[in-house]
Amino acid sequence: MSVSVEEVDRWDAGDLREVFHATRTRAEAAFEAADGVSNLPAFDTWGGAASDAAREAIGKTRKDLDAHGNEALAVARAASSAADDVEQVKSDLAKLRSDAHRLGMVVDPVGNTVEPGPADTRAAPMEIVLKQMQLQKRLDTILADAARVDAELARAIDMAIGNEPIPDAGPPVGLPAVPPRETNPTDVRKWWDGLTPAQRDDLARYRPAEIGNLDGVPSAVREHVNAARLPGEIGTAQATVDALNAHPVGRPNPSQLDAREAGRNKLADLQQLQTTLRNHPGVGLLLLDTTSNPKNVLAAVASGDVDDAKQVGVTVGGMTTNVRGSVDGMTGEIIAQRDQAVELRQLAGGVTNPDAVATIAWLGYEAPGMNPDVADDAMAKAGAGPLNHFLQGVGATTNVPNQELTAFGHSYGSLTTSLALQAGGAPVDNVVLYGSPGGELSDASQLGVAPGRAYFMDGVTDGVPTTIANLGSFGAPLSEVPGFTELSVNSGAGLPAPYGDGQWHERAYGHSEYPRFGDNGELRMSGYNMAAVLAGLPDDTIAPPQNLPPPTIPLGPRGFPVPNPDYHP
């Protein structure tokens, strides 16, 4: 069907943009409703036959809402594309008119021809014919484009009013390519900032695994995308386990056994993440990587608004840490750490935005189990690169000009943290290593933090930072490395406000108690000190007590050591 110049003149791209915005809003509302329906907590706790029926109905409702959203999205894309094309046709026509005017010619809007203008009637006939030939060819091309655009627009309208079926939306044509995961997070941030809102939405919808795990993408976007991915990832992992169970192998070989174990482990990792997010509303899933590691899901969870926080802490677990076994405990700990840091900042008085604290539990590497791997630094070295990159990502996405970032590393995770910081480039201001078997460094300055900003803690009776560290497998014990400041793990009270909370904090004994609560419901002294560093309030930290009585005293003529009744560390 042909289109006249007169009709093109009446076209308005603005009207089409309105259609685009209206239908896009409709699509987003439908997707949001679908997400909301799928996450209704009632259907997680409701049991029995009625709940099965309800789940089935909810599943159908979700699919309907998703389908509706996809239809609205398809119409939105058609309207957006038509608006772009209309602007192009009108621009080409305006350029043609300008060129024609310069040559003394005009475009006839009704006849769709190029004619001599009033001032050009006395020109030589051959000259007029040559000008007409040149310009008419361009006008015909423009009108052919206009006819194509008109057809596309008609199709969009037919889709919108239901006269034509809407094809499966799929990724929109021209979706920007996502940078590789190893891209510098600062460059990723610039790339993200350069996208239009519609492009960001499309990438989050059609490239969620890449966007959700890309350091440099704003944390809120990653958390939203990864939370939405989680049910699908659980479904995929469950299907994998079901398939393996449905086809049992008589005598499986080692690789088949590994695949079976990996399938079960990854499903358990994902299910535990779902449970943890449900038990701790408000906690975000900053990393959900189901593919990089063959055995485990890698993840990071965050408490607080990471990108708008003035103080941010990242905790790395050590030996035996994995998502299925550790993420729930670590999440409770980062929440407690954040709460304590906020309280110290509130009590300090005069602190701007005292609540602007965020904490992250990073389970983004494979930590050794209780096996020979723990005697080797290979896993720490393998984890150091991703950790360094992640920390750079936190720095790249912050909206706070003077964000203060603290790295916490426990046990083998302290070695991973140390190696990550020694690689350079991570914008870390403070580091606290605790229960450390060693950091493979000879001076704290190698960590890249200012003097006095590197801390360590050795738990009462913890053999890892003493007995094991003294073996020297991972360098000297941190207590012997110049430049480190030791923090107390012993029972005692915090300083009174404004330099502390004045609360009693019990000692941290053994290798596992550092971030935990004591029997009195308060963080242990080690946890309190970590919160003080996180809070950016080093004056609130407690130093180890001086002149402690010896833990044992000699008894009898041979001096047999027995526990000292006055030793209360």
């Binding site: 997680d44 449970t275 550790s326 405990g329 409770g332 209780m370 406000a497 609360q503 290798h511």
Partner: protein, 215 residues
């Protein structure tokens, strides 16, 4: 024996000697490991023996009202925001792996803080109230907390705390500690609150007879 094997053997021996004082306990080296069944049962019995969560909630809500009344009467200019329960479920150390729940309010930061004189009057007025409710100072025997810290704990795990920074802020919060909701004594917890490896749990949630846990 190569040097590497020797190092490995030494490390593992040392690790074992540290982690295994008398018998293997995962919790010695893994902060997130579940305690063994004996320890789990010991902790669960503590939770089971405490009054129900709703009872503690009611008691703390009553104390909350009295604390607010006292603060407002003595320091009327101090504005105390509402007591809002935290959204988190479950229990914290040492009851992380126990069956139970906790109600803790978001910390309230009241401003302007009472003067030192008003603060003394507030703590003097609250001490008999908390003592009557079977609370005691949350410090070891013989330890006197700093003047600005007024932290109390009940025998069954509830805590109340007020921390004062004169001229700046008064921090206030309370928690029930880990307890059983009353319904969990007669019916199992909701499906999403049961351990992932033990979906058939039921009261009294013990590994030993009369049972209730198998995971």
């Amino acid at each position: 024996m190569t040097a590497r094997r020797r190092t490995l053997a030494v490390v593992l021996t040392a690790l074992t000697s540290v982690a295994v004082p008398s018998c293997v306990k995962d919790t010695a080296v893994n902060p997130y490991a579940a305690p063994d069944h004996t320890e789990s049962d010991r902790l669960q019995k503590i939770v089971n023996d405490r009054p129900d969560l709703e009872v503690a909630q009611h008691e703390l809500a009553d104390l909350d009202g009295q604390i607010r009344t006292v603060v407002t009467r003595i320091s009327p200019e101090t504005a105390i925001g509402p007591s809002t329960p935290k959204p988190d479920h479950g229990c914290s150390d040492p009851f992380t792996h126990s069956i139970g729940d906790t109600v803790t309010i978001e910390k309230v930061y009241a401003r302007p803080a009472p003067s030192d004189e008003q603060w003394r009057a507030i703590t003097d007025a609250l001490t008999p109230i908390l003592t009557a409710a079977a609370f005691q100072a949350n410090t070891p025997p013989g330890v006197t907390p700093p003047a600005g810290t007024f932290a109390w704990v009940s025998d069954d795990g509830s805590t109340v705390e007020l921390i004062h920074n004169a001229g700046s802020v008064l921090a206030y919060g309370y928690s029930t500690g880990c307890r059983l909701p009353s319904a969990w004594r007669t019916d199992p917890p909701p499906a999403d609150r049961r351990p992932a490896d033990d979906s058939n749990v039921h009261y009294p949630y013990l590994y030993e007879p009369p049972g209730g846990r198998n995971g």
